[in-house]
Structures are given as C-alpha cells and as structure tokens.
C-alpha cells in the first residue's frame, strides 16, 4: 500500500523547459514528471530531443527557459557535480570508464578512500566495491583490471558506478545496446529491486519491446516537443511508433519520373557482405539510374557496410558485381579505379582537406587515379572551375580554402571531387547532415540528375523523410542485417521505423 502511495508523487518535475541551438529548437516547452519509484521510458526518433533533455536533468546543459523541481525544490544550479550531489546519476551510452584502472577504482573514481597522507586505500576500496557488486547481483571481482572485462561486464560496471553514490534518479541511456540476454536480466533485476526502494529511473531505448518489460510509463518526444505520456499497461507498440512519427511530414523533395527503362540489366550486385560484429550477410542489387536508400538506426551497420563496399575496411566475406564483372575493391584506390566513389559520413574527418583550396580538393581523386608525373595546372583550373560552377558551389574563387565554405558548399565540393573522377557508383553516407535546407534540396536535385544520367546511387541516411522523398527503394538495416527492402508505397515512415526497431518481429530477433 505504501508503495502505491509513493508512486503517485513526483520526485522530478520539468515545466515548460526549452532549449535552442543556432537553427534548431532542440526542446520546445517540454513538461515532464517522474514519480518516486517509477521507471519511465523516454522514446523518440534521432533528433527528437531526448539527449538534450537528459543532459539538462544531468546538469551538463543549461535550459534557455523553464523550471525544474526536484523533491518540490526548484533546481537552479546546472552543473554535473551539483546534480550528482542531488542524487541524479546517468549511465551514458558510451562507457566513461578508465581502462587502465581496476573495477573498484573505476566505481569510486571521484571519491576514492584515502589515507591521511593522500594515498589511495585500495584494499578498502576493493572491499566496498565487492560488497556493492554483490548487492547489485553483478558477478565480477572488483580487483580486476577493467581491460580484462568483456563489453557486457564493462556496461554493468558503468551501472554499478551509478550506485556508488546515493542515487535518487537514475538515467539509463540505451543501456541494453551493449548487453547480452544475461546482462540485460542482471540490469533489469537491479532496476526492479531498487525502484521498489524508491529509486526513479528514466529509461531511454530504441528497443520498444523493452518498454513493456520494465517500464511503468512511457513518454514520447518528437522534434523537441513532448507528444504524450502513457501508462504502459494502457498502450501498445503501434501507438508508440505512430506517435514517434507524428503527423505525416510534407514531402521535402519530389523526384522526377522514375528512370528510363533501357537501363535495366546494368546492375550492381552486392553479394553476402559480412564482418563479424558489424555487418551480417548483406546482399542487395541496385539498377543503373536508381537511388537505393539504406535506413536504420545509427549503429545498425550502415556506415560499416559502405566502408567495406569501398574497400576502406576489412571484410570477412562479400563480392561486388557490376554489369556481370567482379569489381570487389581491395583498397580505396582500387575502388576508385573501378568507378566507385564514397562520400563519407564526416566530411571534415575524411572527406576534405579543409586547409587546402577548393580546386585541389576537387581534382584530388582524379590525380590519384591518373598516371604521369606532371599535372596540367591550367587544365585543372579550368575543369575544376567548370564543375564547381555546375554544382553551384558558392565560393568567391576556387582558390578559396575549403574551411571557409559553408557546410552545404563543402558537401558539394566532396560531390564534385567524385564526379570529377568520373565515378559510376556513388555511395552517399549521410549527405545532408549539418547542411542548410537550401543546399539540401540542391543536393537531392543533383542526386536525381546523376541517377538520370545512369549512375548507380546508394544513399545512407538517418533522416527517414529524406529517404522517402529521394529513393526508389529503401533497405532497412538492423543489428548488421538488411532486414527488408521497401519499395513504392511500402516506403512509409511507419514501416521504416517498425523495421528499424524490430517492432512486430519475433522476440528471438532481439539477440
């Protein structure tokens, strides 16, 4: 009875919390409440505002406006140490542990027991940590070095670390992504045991199924707004998915009529691409003139697949056939000679040389492909100038350093580079991330034109509406597998999300 009573009062209340970044309203007047002893799921698509929200709660981001109440007290000091002081603990998606230290030292990293002279009392530390781990039901000896643990064990240690302080609110960000079935059970047992004692949990997960296993309520975010909060017993997966998608967004780009028929037969076949732990036996075909989309959640193996296709990363198996010829590349250089181009996910990391001029960036791949010691500089200037004009790269001169261009124009330079090298097969990995709307439309238009010219285009994107408006067919990846290929009317946000999340599949798919 007492427990029931506790579960109806709020430990945390957020009222009209807003946060904006240049060009993005990350959170828009969000109301949120968390009760004593409850597990509340927080779901939404990429960019819905979940991360911003939990970072505000954890004190690492200042909201622009709104109030946050903890135990009825207004919460005003937003910094991580205050929030830990107040009993808010976050288990981040990425481990924030020190590999070189022992498990015990990791757990008590911020308040290690010390002797009078400032030396660490390691034995005491290990003792306390061992007791904590036993209490949590985690079967790991805390004297071990973190290096020696498996990824699953490391995740559980991150969870244990959150319990080293007195925690009232526990934020779990995608905790099961790194856990196997056993690890998941351990985690869920911990959550159940401590919520009974009054701990409140905010649970973020892309696995909709888990919400029904462990959560009391579920809150749906979309585009920085809170859409709804349901009691889990009174809702179902389809409702949640529908609310995550929200209203049908207007088509952001409409493609010209589907490609000419004469190009059939000229196909790219990807056969059985695999790499342990990243990509799981993926096969598909793309026709000339077609734009083939690859959707799925971040981390589902899409980028890995693209890099393997381009010969950039190792693969265990897989062949690439083009018009009946085996063109499986062994290195980027080989891929380029065989007509493949890759617009990488992170332009600045491995797409562009930002401290060199535009024209050098554009001609780079062609020179890498060509023979002969000397470059024809005047021809290079003329031709790179032409192509940068054709793609409408906005730069005062082609001698401008790429670093001075806007994101959209930088992306056009990357595209120009591959077109200048006469690539036949173009892989676009997240081509419109961090690009303004105008340039986005231009890039879609260019992709459309290239498809019409008979190029083979593969587009990886986390932006589902973008895939819907640009692609002829869309494959969805999940846990390294290509789970389905959608075409025509099947390409809807609802379908894409369902396949990405594994909703409606057999439960055994979870592992």
């Amino acid at each position: 009875m007492k427990e029931q009573c506790v579960k109806t009062t709020n430990i945390l209340e957020a009222v009209q919390v807003s946060k904006s970044y240049p060009g993005v309203q990350a959170l828009d007047a969000v109301d949120f409440d968390l009760r004593y002893g409850e597990v509340q799921a927080l779901v939404g698509q990429n960019g819905a505002g979940k991360s911003t929200f939990i970072e505000i709660i954890a004190g690492s981001i200042q909201p622009d406006s709104g109030n946050i109440f903890l135990d009825g007290q207004e919460y005003t000091h937003f910094d991580p140490s205050t929030s830990i002081e107040l009993g808010i603990q976050t288990v981040h998606q990425e481990n924030q542990l020190v590999e070189e230290l022992s498990v015990a030292e990791n757990i008590y990293l911020y308040d290690l027991p010390k002797t009078r002279f400032g030396f660490v009392k390691l034995a005491t530390c290990i003792d306390t940590a061992d007791r904590l781990l036993v209490e949590l039901g985690i079967d790991i000896k805390s004297g071990k070095k973190l290096n020696d643990l498996t990824p699953v064990q490391k995740k559980l240690i991150s969870v244990a670390k959150a319990f080293s302080h007195r925690a009232k609110i526990l934020i779990l960000d995608e905790p099961t992504a790194a856990l196997d079935r056993h690890g998941k059970n351990v985690l869920f047992d911990i959550v159940r045991k401590y919520t009974e004692k009054g701990l409140s949990v905010i649970y973020i997960s892309h696995h909709i199924g888990e919400i029904f296993e462990i959560c009391d309520r579920v809150t749906i975010f979309k585009d920085g707004k809170k859409i709804n909060t349901h009691t889990v017993n009174e809702t179902d997966m389809n409702t949640i998915v529908r609310e995550m998608i929200g209203k049908k967004s207007a088509s952001i780009f409409s493609r010209s009529a589907v490609q000419a028929a004469g190009l059939e037969g000229n196909i790219l076949e990807m056969i059985d691409y695999s790499r342990q732990g990243a990509v799981d036996h993926v096969s598909f075909t793309v026709q000339k003139g077609e734009i083939f989309g690859i959707g799925g959640l971040v981390g589902s193996g899409r980028t890995e697949l693209a890099r393997m296709m381009f010969g950039l990363d190792e693969r265990d198996s897989g062949r690439l056939m083009y018009c009946g010829r085996d063109i499986t590349p062994t290195s980027p250089n080989d891929a380029i000679r065989k007509g493949i181009g890759l617009l990488t996910e992170d332009r600045k990391d491995d797409g562009l040389i930002i401290i060199r001029p535009v024209f050098e960036n554009i001609s780079m791949v062609r020179f890498a492909k060509s023979q002969g010691a000397f470059m024809n500089l005047s021809k290079e200037r003329d031709e790179t100038g032409d192509i940068s004009k054709a793609l409408n790269v906005k730069t005062p001169s082609i001698s401008q350093m790429v670093i001075n261009l806007s994101g959209g124009n930088q992306q056009k330079v990357v595209l120009a580079k591959w077109l200048f090298a006469e690539s036949e097969i173009l892989i676009f990995d997240e081509p419109t991330v961090g690009i303004d709307v105008g340039s986005k439309t231009e890039i879609y238009g260019l992709m459309d034109d290239l498809a019409k010219e008979g190029k083979i285009i593969i587009m990886i994107s986390s932006d589902n509406p973008e895939l819907i408006s640009v692609c002829d067919r869309v494959g969805i990846m999940r846990f390294g597998k290509l789970v389905t290929v959608l075409k025509g009317d099947q390409i809807t946000e609802e379908n894409m999300l369902k396949y990405s999340l594994g909703v409606g599949e057999k439960v055994s798919e979870e592992d």
């Binding site: 381009f310 950039l312 980027p332 250089n333 891929a335 380029i336 000679r337 890759l342 990488t344 990391d349 491995d350 797409g351 562009l352 040389i353 930002i354 401290i355 060199r356 050098e360 780079m364 791949v365 020179f367 890498a368 492909k369 060509s370 002969g372 010691a373 000397f374 470059m375 500089l377 906005k394 730069t395 005062p396 001169s397 401008q400 350093m401 001075n404 261009l405 806007s406 580079k417």
Partner: protein, 333 residues
C-alpha cells in the same frame, strides 16, 4: 558576404608571411651593414650563400617532409654518418699523401665515396620511412631514436677520430665557376628549384600537401599514403647524402659530429620560413627564405662580433617567436 571578407584576410595574411620574412632579412642586413659596412660586400654575400648551401639542401628535404605532416630530426646525424663514411673511404683507399697503399685503386676512391654516400642515404631514408609507417608511432620519436643510432654508428665507425681528405676532394665544396660563383651555391639553388617544381607541378607534390593536410581524407581519395611518405623519407636521405658530400668537401675533414647541428637548423629554417608543423602548408620559397634568414643571422652575429655561443640561444628564440606569432595570426591552424 562573410566568406568574401574571410578570403581577403586569408590572402593578405599569406602575403604578409613571405613579405614579413623578406622585410626581416632586409632589416637584419641593414643592421649588420651599419655595424660593419663589410657585410654588404659582394664577397661576403657570396660567402653567406656558400655557408648556407649545405643547410639549404638539407632543409628542402625536411621542408617537403614537413609539408606531408612528418618530421625527421635525424638529418644531422645522417649527414655526420655519411660524412665520416665518405671521408674514411677517401682516406683509406686514396691513401695518405705520402704512401698510397692501393695505388691502383686510388683513382676510384672519390667515385666510390660518392656512390656509397648516396646508397647509404637511400638506405637511411628507407629505414626511417618504413619504421615510421609500420610502427604507427609519431615520426618525431622514431627519428629521435634513429638520430641517436646514426650518431652512435658514426662514433663507432670512426672511433672518434678525425679523417682528413688532404685536399683530395675539394671541387664540390670549394670549387668556383669562373673563379667566382661557388659550385655549392649552384647545387643549393638547383635543389630549391627542383623542390619548387616537385611541390608545384608534380602529382607527387600535390599528394604531399594532401597527406599533410588530412591523411585520412587523402587515403579515402585513393592516394597511397604509405608510399608517398616512404618516398619522402628516401628523398630526405638522398639530399642528406648530397649535403654530406658538399660539407665534407668544404671542410676538408670529417668528425663523427660534423653534421649534427643540421637537425635543429634545418627544422628552424623551414619553421621560420612559415611551414606549418602540422603539415599541408609551405612551399620552396618559404624554405629558401627561412634558410637565408638563418644563414644571415649566423653571419651577422659573427660580423657584429657577438659571442659565437649566443648563436644557439638566438636561433631557439627565433623558432619560438616564429611559431608563436603565426599561431596568433592564425596562419598555421
């Protein structure tokens, strides 16, 4: 609009980088002339250029390597090692002036010394390059280690002794065309021109900039980054061999430490010249101006009667000042 403004600033800055250096050189020359009017005499100017020829040749290699984002601080010991080897060959095979132990071999001594120098230079470059590529350790540490190895090897081979050439091999370092222009200067200017051609007009040079600017992007763009890097180290080794030949010929004898100072001096020259230590920037003109500035400074200090031991202090300060100034003006980052 914003882009436009930035571009003008960028170009203005690049101009100032070279002009600033030229201004500095002129100023230094002016001060030196005021203190000692002999400074501006043509004989002294030619003398300065002859002095810096060896440094200039080494610096061109180091500069190209730095453009590609790598460093080689073993160049000094490389020059020393090759210098001692070639001096020993000339002395042992050519013999002492009084008695020649292998009279029939003596005429081959110099050609042999030249060939061996280049072979050793090639090998040292290859060793440095392969180790840097395979170990995936920063080139600074690798070449620091090899620098020590080469220095030790030079000491071991020579036993710490000095080897005289007895005037046998003077043409390269002391010879003058028309009794006026030292041959060494021609080699120096030649190497600068070739460096310019490589960096500006060759695919290879373009790849050096690409790798130095962003190694990952260069690799994704199909550039064989390892091969380009390895070649750059070999070029450094070969230029060091040429430098050793000219140096030993000019000095007329070799010690195990004769060339050691070139590690610091060559790096100082290209950095003062405006080459980014992070790679992707710099050109032959900047190497040249950097070398001239350092050479001028050396000469000016002597001519102004400054304590010669001050030299290293001044050079050190200049390196720090050059890097700091350009860091603040944003030219390097």
């Amino acid at each position: 609009m914003k882009i436009n403004i930035r571009s003008r600033e960028g170009q203005k800055r690049r101009l100032t980088q070279s002009t600033m250096l030229i201004m500095l050189i002129v100023m230094l020359a002016l001060v030196a002339t005021i203190v000692n009017p002999k400074f501006l005499r043509i004989v002294n100017i030619i003398n300065i250029f002859q002095q810096i020829s060896v440094l200039g040749i080494v610096a061109c290699g180091v500069g190209m390597l730095l453009v590609s984002g790598q460093i080689d601080i073993s160049v000094g010991p490389q020059v020393s090692l090759m210098g001692i080897i070639l001096a020993m060959i000339i002395q042992k095979i050519g013999g002492l002036p009084a008695d020649s132990p292998h009279a029939w071999l003596a005429p081959f001594a110099i050609p042999m010394a030249i060939v061996v120098s280049f072979v050793v230079g090639f090998l040292l470059g290859l060793i440095n390059g392969i180790t840097v590529i395979k170990s995936r350790v920063t080139s600074f540490i690798i070449t620091l280690g090899f620098g020590s190895v080469y220095k030790g090897a030079a000491l071991l081979i020579s036993g710490g002794a000095s080897y005289m050439l007895f005037g046998r091999f003077e043409l390269l370092g002391r010879g003058r065309i028309l009794n006026f222009i030292p041959i060494a200067i021609l080699f120096f200017i030649g190497v600068v021109i070739v460096t310019h051609i490589v960096l500006k007009f060759l695919r290879y040079g373009r790849f050096l900039y690409a790798i130095g600017g962003n190694r990952k992007a260069a690799y994704v763009s199909g550039i064989n980054t390892d091969r380009i890097t390895l070649t750059a180290y070999v070029i450094v080794g070969l230029l060091d061999a040429l430098a050793a030949l000219i140096l030993i010929s000019r000095v007329g004898s070799a010690l195990a430490v004769t060339g050691d100072s070139y590690s610091l001096d060559s790096l100082a020259s290209v950095i003062v010249g405006g080459v980014a230590i992070t790679g992707g920037k710099g050109n032959a003109l900047s190497f040249f101006l950097g070398v001239v500035l350092i050479g001028l400074l050396d000469n000016a200090l002597i001519i102004m009667n400054v304590n010669p031991y001050m030299r290293d202090v001044v050079i050190g300060i200049i390196i720090i000042a050059a890097v700091t100034i350009s860091n603040y003006t944003g030219e390097r980052s």
